[in-house]
């Protein structure tokens, strides 16, 4: 399997996603849009988990903070300016990640997992219990933001198809951005931290700063996802910050396979796809979900992204691509 085939496959998937609104009914267009948003969320976490070796179990906090930012600053019955609220939400999420990063990045391993979880719980309670979150039942974003830019309106998010393409474009942009980041010298330092932080330290890298930068970037990109989710569904609730959300996005990353952005996207599709399928079958669908997860850990340690490679290897077809 060579990289040409992989690129071709990715392009085919992108083409399929672009054509989808033409064939899918409105529910499925929205469903795929949701998956794309979750794919952004999963990629942002993959930057930490897959490429830097930081397993965060509190990533939903930044998703939720961005979603709340847009719902809280948008006027109640008028459209807010898309570019302004997008920037504000992403900044808020990034700033929160920066602040939390100062604390949590001083810890490692299991500790890091638990501390990120605890900080996310704190953020959850801020929106659930204090006046900042307005109501623990959640709040509406009544009007979708208006995309006008200096008097010119390139598209309208009120149209489901245009909203879908906006989300798809955002997903592609995050994918490209992260690909560049990972190939940059910065990304190589992160990879170095992932494989051996001590060595990077002794080579003179201030690893804490690199990790903080990665954590902040991941938080901001999770903010992009949270922002889009709020706009897509027009509703925010403290549950966006719950640890189950953090767990679910981590599942997407792992299901897809670590160390691959495309894997994170595939993981989002697989996870939500399975959820939809199982919940249509039986009301005890969470049992099936749990069994799949356990089986995936036991029998598929490299995730979906590793699956083709494993299959190719088994049938002895072509050489490894790395």
């Amino acid at each position: 399997m060579n990289s040409g085939v992989v690129t071709l496959f990715k392009l085919a998937v992108l083409a399929g996603l672009m054509l989808f609104p033409a064939i899918g009914s409105s529910f499925y267009v929205e469903l795929v849009a949701k998956i794309l948003v979750m794919a952004i969320f999963a990629m942002s976490l993959a930057l930490l988990v897959g490429f830097t070796g930081l397993v965060s179990l509190g990533h939903a906090a930044y998703f939720g903070i961005a979603a709340y930012t847009v719902a809280l600053i948008a006027p109640e019955y008028e459209a807010a300016n898309l570019w302004f609220v997008l920037a504000a939400s992403v900044l808020a999420a990034g700033a929160a990640a920066f602040f939390v990063g100062l604390f949590v990045l001083r810890t490692k391993g299991i500790y890091f997992i638990m501390v990120t979880l605890a900080f996310a719980q704190m953020a959850y309670y801020i929106f659930h219990d204090t006046a900042l979150g307005r109501s623990s039942d959640g709040i509406y974003l009544n009007v979708k933001p208006d995309a006008s830019l200096f008097g010119w309106t390139p598209f309208s998010l009120d149209d489901p198809a245009q909203l879908y393409y906006f989300i798809l474009a955002a997903m592609a942009a995050v994918f490209v951005l992260l690909s560049f980041v990972l190939r940059s010298p910065f990304g190589r330092v992160l990879a170095g931290i992932h494989s051996n932080e001590h060595r990077m330290k002794s080579l003179g890298y201030a690893t804490f700063r690199y990790k903080l930068a990665a954590f902040t970037l991941a938080g901001a990109l999770a903010g992009v996802a949270g922002f889009l989710y709020a706009v897509l569904f027009g509703f925010v609730t403290p549950e966006y910050l719950s640890w189950h959300q953090s767990g679910n996005v981590l599942l997407m990353v792992i299901l897809g396979g670590l160390g691959s952005l495309a894997g994170a996207v595939a993981g989002a599709f697989a996870f939500i796809g399975l959820q939809e399928m199982f919940s249509d079958w039986t009301k005890h669908w969470q049992l099936l979900m749990g069994l799949v997860i356990v089986a995936a850990v036991l029998f598929m340690p490299t995730g979906l992204a590793g699956l083709p490679r494993r299959i190719f290897r088994t049938v002895n077809w072509g050489e490894d691509d790395e």
């Binding site: 605890a118 719980q121 704190m122 219990d129 049992l287």
Partner: protein, 288 residues
């Protein structure tokens, strides 16, 4: 707040803290010694509570139920370790998170399928059903004091087990260097199985003891899990003493947080955690 109620609040804080210790001790053992992150710890607490419910309705006696329940939980833990967790020692934390997250879903659904979704009560044993008067209009249930005593006894017992017995010595050595202990002829697999089963039994015991106070209900494990995490984070992974001190701190923060700053009550515990982490990033009693 007058002096009497201040004293009573201290009692409340101590009692809550001790209960938290009981729940978190198993978690910190499994974390610290086996290096396993176990999100399903709350599920074991839930399983314990439902065991107490089922066995006490069968036998009509909670104490008998607990005596029967502990070996059941221990055996269940050993079985789970043999079937699932044994595959995780060489994997990274991520896979542990994933597997134990899957287990939460499975246990919750099995609970729904077997016992249903109603709230059930468990009777307090007749022997401990009395109350002691604390002030003119407030009294304190004896059963809560009994739980506190059990928690203290358990803390002492765990300390003794870890520091004063051969098993404890092997466990401590095994947590530092698995291979070395193995090469000394210790059956490390059996050792790990024991530790894990002990962790499950502790969580289940906490659930069984709490069942008469908290009732048994769907989703009860989830609430316990997060607060146990906070306790372990504050105390320092793997430290039984740390868990005890942290549990008491959380008990005080929660109790006095609700009294002194009610608007931020939900945050009090997490603020405490943030302060401790600023001071000591790896918890108060960092191990190793």
């Amino acid at each position: 707040m007058d002096f009497t109620s201040f004293l009573i609040q201290i009692l409340n804080a101590l009692q809550y803290g001790l209960l938290l210790f009981l729940v978190a001790s198993g978690l910190t053992l499994v974390f610290g010694i086996m290096g396993i992150i176990n999100l399903a710890h709350g599920s074991f607490y839930m399983i314990g509570a439902y065991l107490a419910f089922a066995l006490s309705s069968l036998t009509g006696n909670l104490m008998l139920a607990i005596v029967l329940g502990i070996p059941l939980a221990f055996g269940f833990g050993a079985l789970l370790e043999r079937l699932l967790f044994v595959h995780l020692y060489k994997r990274d934390h991520l896979q542990q998170v994933l597997l134990t997250y899957g287990l939460i879903l499975i246990f919750e659904e099995l609970r729904s399928l077997t016992v249903g979704d109603d709230v059930h009560g468990v009777a307090i044993p007749e022997l401990f059903s009395a109350s002691i008067a604390l002030s003119e209009n407030l009294s304190y249930p004896v059963y809560r004091l009994v739980i506190s005593v059990v928690c203290i006894a358990l803390a002492a017992g765990l300390w003794w087990l870890m520091q004063r017995t051969r098993l404890g010595m092997m466990i401590r050595a095994g947590s530092f260097n698995r291979e070395m202990v193995q090469s000394l002829g210790v059956n490390i697999d059996m050792l790990y199985r024991t530790v894990f089963a002990l962790g499950v039994a502790l969580a289940a015991l906490a659930g069984m003891l709490a069942a008469p106070i908290s009732s048994v209900y769907p989703g009860m494990g989830g609430n316990v899990l997060i607060i146990s995490f906070v306790v372990v984070v504050i105390g320092g992974i793997g430290s039984v003493w740390g868990a005890l001190v942290a549990a008491l701190l959380v008990g005080f923060a929660d109790t006095f947080g609700t009294v002194l700053m009610p608007d931020l009550a939900g945050l009090a515990v997490y603020l405490l955690m943030a302060v401790v982490l600023l001071w000591r990033p790896e918890g108060i009693f960092r191990k190793g």
